[in-house]
Subunit: 189 residues, 2 copies
DNA sequence: AAATATACTTACTAATAAGTAAGTTTGCAA
DNA sequence: TTGCAAACTTACTTATTAGTAAGTATATTT
């Protein structure tokens, strides 16, 4: 695989996560990489194409991460902690997540990109639901809702928190994330 | 106030809440209203201007609603229920809220629009924090976090849920909102 | 009746966007 | 050394965008 191709994907992802899909252009990428806009089209004929590739890369990354945690024998609490670290890192870097960035632009995305984006959120939600369910069975977590609902509540909080954090100053992001985890603690109930 | 002006604001708000700020154009509005794009510029010289006006209108609407509830003597539980109804209605109409729609585009908005948007989220959060705090004092709610953190958690959930709802099919939005309210119930603890 | 303000339209401009066709350089293989 | 493919550039086109300047019709005021 080409290094330029990878750089385009990386830069594209950053642009989506900071400016948003409709606010970035091939020029933003090409000028940053010191190449011409046609060079981007050489790798990604259309912007839809690039968008879809970026989502696919993110799905792959997520699946690698969860696979890794499972094969390394992380318990459910540890897995959730690691998952939440993705968001604290994004917050530090003043970025949103892919789902939170592309979700709003769903009406101006190609059907292919939307399909991948849906697939991504479903994969995340499924993993989160399963992790919550098996963690509760082991007595690691306590919550009264259905795991699907709880997963949706948690994911919603995390996705939106990255957005709200940019609107509300003095936000204590760490406390926020701690509250999400503490809410699951069996000791607290 | 002109009826055309009001229609522009209403249409603009709908476009922001469905397509997003960067994805809608003056043409979208003018063609819908059967007028020319220059007519929109007559009322709103720039798009930034329109954006700011739309946010201001929403702030006003929110303050009228909360003011009304307070003067009518709604208790905190009733107030929260009414607040959450805004989101169930948005969900039915396949729309997001203003904060969730404009938040993602913060990097491509004018400083004035951003200022109003920040003001709006702060007003909502302040109201929610106060309502949670006084409701807990009266024994209507039970939660262990600081009211500020709890308010942020709830608002995050609601804002993002409207986005995720469009990504995840078969979402049971009612159960989701019920879970948010049930979480506050003193009986459940 | 004349002047003026309101609510537009007509007819543009300048900028930026995605996308393309054809050419160029470079390294490698036959 | 010729041929060819990969990785671009040059030089565009077409479409859409926000925005503007000047004009027009209509109603209201003076």
């Amino acid at each position: 695989m080409s290094i330029t191709r990878e750089k385009i994907i990386e830069l594209g992802e950053n642009l989506i996560r900071t400016k948003g899909y409709n606010a970035f252009s091939y020029q933003d990428i090409s000028s940053e990489l010191g190449i011409k806009n046609a060079a981007i089209h050489y790798y990604f004929p259309s912007k839809e194409n690039l968008g879809t590739s970026i989502v696919k890369t993110n799905i792959q990354r997520f699946e690698e991460m969860t696979g890794n945690m499972q094969s390394r024998g992380f318990d459910e609490w540890h897995q959730l902690e690691t998952f939440i670290k993705i968001y604290t890192k994004s917050h530090r870097e003043q970025k949103r997540c892919i789902v939170g960035s592309l979700g709003p632009d769903i009406n101006s995305l190609s059907t292919q990109t939307v399909a991948e984006l849906k697939r991504m959120s479903e994969i995340i939600l499924k993993w989160l639901t399963d992790t919550l369910a098996s963690g509760r069975q082991k007595g690691l977590f306590a919550f009264s809702e259905e795991p699907e609902i709880k997963a949706l509540l948690m994911l919603s909080s995390l996705v939106a928190s990255l957005q709200l954090a940019r609107l509300i100053d003095n936000i204590e992001y760490k406390s926020f994330c701690n509250a999400i985890l503490a809410d699951l603690s069996p000791a607290g109930k």
